[in-house]
């Protein structure tokens, strides 16, 4: 697994890291709960066929400036700025978890910004009859089990690389967690239901069959409200972070959807 190339763009006057790897048509990725603390196998799979561009949203590893973002309009504006300056305007876009809700919002507010959309277990809906678990009332030791079917592998993915200061690494991850909370506290629901019909980009909804945070049944709720062509793929033996648990299967589903 070779390292991606790295550059930086300005959003809201702050630096945001952009990782890039592969050749071909650009394919954007907005990361999930902890962003991209390191380059994952999942993106390597995609980079075999596409030019993968993964910009960091404000607050996620490689980017700061989320403290200035107060409401959904601020986050959508920052996301649009980030996609455009990264070279992803009008490109295919994948969003996972928190990144998924912003990818969906961008596609709803600005149809021309997204060509085809992939949502991996996005936040954005809340059904009282099947409530999402409270991510933010979870002890640190419970988190891997809540997010993943392979908690040991997730822990390794999130562990500080050799040579990194352990405290600063933990603050990096805590900052990403805060950025997610800043957007989505307390329910992960920002009225997206009222805008889903505006998303007319062909959309693939991917959900881990063992997602213990956001029920897999939410995939159908998204699919039935989206405005364009929709496919749903449930990924076996995968939790909320399906792209970490089953990188090959999720990448194959996405590449299949695009061909």
């Amino acid at each position: 697994m070779s390292e991606p190339s790295e550059r930086h763009v300005q959003v809201n006057g702050r630096r945001c890291r952009v990782w890039e790897k592969g050749e071909g048509e650009p394919l954007g990725f907005l990361g999930g709960l902890r962003g991209l603390p390191r380059w994952p196998r999942f993106l390597d799979r995609l980079a075999e066929r596409r030019r993968v561009i993964a910009p960091s949203l404000p607050g996620y590893p490689g980017a700061t400036g989320f403290e200035e973002l107060d409401d959904l309009a601020d986050w959508v504006t920052a996301s649009l700025d980030l996609l455009e300056t990264s070279g992803l305007d009008g490109a295919d876009l994948i969003g996972a978890s928190v990144g998924g809700t912003l990818a969906a919002e961008v596609a709803a507010f600005s149809r021309a910004s997204v060509r085809r959309l992939v949502l991996i277990a996005p936040f954005g809906l809340f059904d009282e009859r099947e409530p999402a678990k409270d991510l933010w009332a979870t002890r640190p030791d419970e988190l891997p089990e809540l997010l993943s079917t392979r908690p040991a592998e997730l822990a390794a993915y999130l562990a500080a690389p050799a040579g990194e200061d352990a405290l600063e690494w933990s603050i990096l991850l805590a900052r990403a967690s805060e950025a997610a909370a800043r957007l989505l506290w307390p329910l992960g629901e920002l009225g997206l239901r009222k805008r889903l019909h505006r998303i007319q980009a062909p959309t693939l909804v991917v959900w881990g069959s063992e997602d213990r945070l956001l029920p897999p049944s939410y995939a159908k709720k998204f699919a039935s409200a989206l405005g364009g062509w929709v496919e749903v793929r449930e990924i076996a033996d995968a939790g909320h972070l399906a792209e970490i648990d089953q990188p090959d299967a999720v990448a194959a589903a996405i590449l299949g959807f695009f061909t």
């Binding site: 403290e67 933010w136 009332a137 002890r139 603050i171 950025a179 909370a181 506290w185």
Partner: protein
């Protein structure tokens, strides 16, 4: 020095198997454990106890704000303070305080506190806590990442609302108000003294120094655990070139007095074990809201000992003692004869350099009779030994400036 009497207003009937059968005293506390008939008795007894403390000569009486919490029955401390303002004469009414982010718009705090200051004739201390994660982020679902930004805006708005003589427009980041014009206005000019209850964050210390506010460390874990935090506070004051006036600081301490140490140990065991065992049975899931602690505080917490103590006062309860011997041994509760307690508190006040000592003399399920005994014995035989401490050298610039007696009125007697 000033000796203040603080009430948390705990529910006193949590069952013996509360820890085993229930998840948490806070946030998801089981409402089936709450009996409003019992609460009728408790509220009235607790308010009696605060009034009694004021009559006995404590310099101030303190109330605070908690939500969905079985050890703190005051979602609205202002309701209690308003009643206390009517039924006391000289004591400071210390509202410790209003969690500013929970009031929308925050001018509500400016209004209600001005009312209390008017009713009491200028005896209010305005406490402005950020509020715990349990109260603010969970019970009230406020965004932890915005909490401090909103807190500071609310503070700035309230202070201006008290002082600007003209209606003004507030175009804040979080609040847009076309007409701000608080009516009534506080008796105390330019505004009631502001005290900030806080943990051990260095940003809070600097902010208190900058605005000349009292910093109050309200920990349940006593003077031994508080030492590192208060040392951190005073080191920072020195670094900022502030004097060492002990009235810059407040500190909370549980106290149980009796004729002898043996008697005190016998009397206060049950209420102390009730408080530290049942009342602090808190699910740590509700203490970890992302963004509640600043990154600087996260760093300090790992790198210094200040931190440890501060983290514990957040209520997470890790490694905390629940047996009486350890509770006394670790200084959570100071018990003894009047002379012993006076000597210990003199040491505490001197070592921690604290001019406002806030005493919890009803704690846990302590009944009315024992609370009265504790309060009276302290007022008669401990307080006189301590109240002159510091006054030869320091002035309390943060104490309410009440109206002269000739300008105050008293409520009519209850009849019938």
């Amino acid at each position: 020095m000033k000796l203040l009497w603080f009430h948390l207003m705990p529910y006193t009937d949590l069952p013996d198997d509360f820890k085993q059968k229930h998840n948490s005293v806070w946030v998801d506390i089981d409402s089936r454990l709450f009996d409003p008939r019992k609460a009728h008795v408790l509220y009235n007894e607790f308010m009696d106890e605060l009034e009694h403390a004021a009559e006995m000569g404590f310099h101030g009486i303190c109330v605070n704000e908690h939500h969905s919490n079985a050890y703190g029955l005051m979602p609205s401390p202002n309701l209690i303070a308003a009643s206390l303002a009517r039924r006391t004469r000289d004591a400071a009414i210390v509202v410790m305080g209003n969690s500013l982010v929970l009031y929308n718009p925050p001018t509500r705090v400016a209004e209600e506190m001005a009312m209390i200051d008017c009713i009491s004739g200028g005896r209010l201390v305005a406490g402005f806590p950020v509020g715990t994660p349990m109260d603010t982020c969970y019970a009230y679902s406020q965004n932890p990442s915005q909490l401090r930004q909103r807190y500071h805006e609310a503070h700035d708005l309230i202070l201006r609302a008290w002082q600007d003589p003209d209606p003004f427009t507030w175009n804040g980041r979080f609040h847009k108000l076309r007409y701000v014009n608080v009516w009534p206005r506080p008796v105390q000019k330019p505004h009631p003294p502001v005290w900030i209850p806080g943990g051990g964050s260095i940003e809070t210390w600097r902010w208190c120094a900058e605005l000349d506010y009292v910093y109050s460390y309200l920990s349940y874990f006593g003077y031994k655990n508080g030492e590192a935090t208060m040392k951190g506070f005073w080191d920072e004051m020195k670094r900022l070139g502030k004097d060492a006036n002990p009235y810059r600081a407040g500190f909370l301490q549980f106290v149980g007095v009796a004729e002898t140490r043996e008697e005190a140990l016998a009397l206060y065991r049950e209420p102390a074990e009730y408080f530290y065992g049942r009342c602090l049975h808190l699910d740590p899931r509700y203490a970890l809201a992302p963004g509640y602690s600043s990154e600087a505080t996260q760093r300090a917490r790992v790198r210094s000992a200040v931190a440890d103590a501060a983290a514990r006062s957040g209520g997470a309860g890790a490694g905390q003692a629940t047996g009486f011997e350890a509770i006394v041994d670790q200084g959570y509760v100071i018990v003894g004869s009047p002379d012993e307690v006076a000597e210990q508190l003199r040491d505490v006040a001197t070592n921690l350099n604290v001019g406002h000592l806030m005493l919890l003399m009803q704690f846990g399920n302590m009944n009315r009779q024992l609370t009265q005994y504790n309060t009276e014995l302290f007022a008669k035989r401990v307080l006189p030994q301590l109240e002159r401490l510091f006054d030869d050298r320091w002035e309390d610039r943060w104490w309410p400036r009440a109206l002269p007696a000739a300008e105050t009125v008293q409520p009519r007697e209850l009849r019938g």
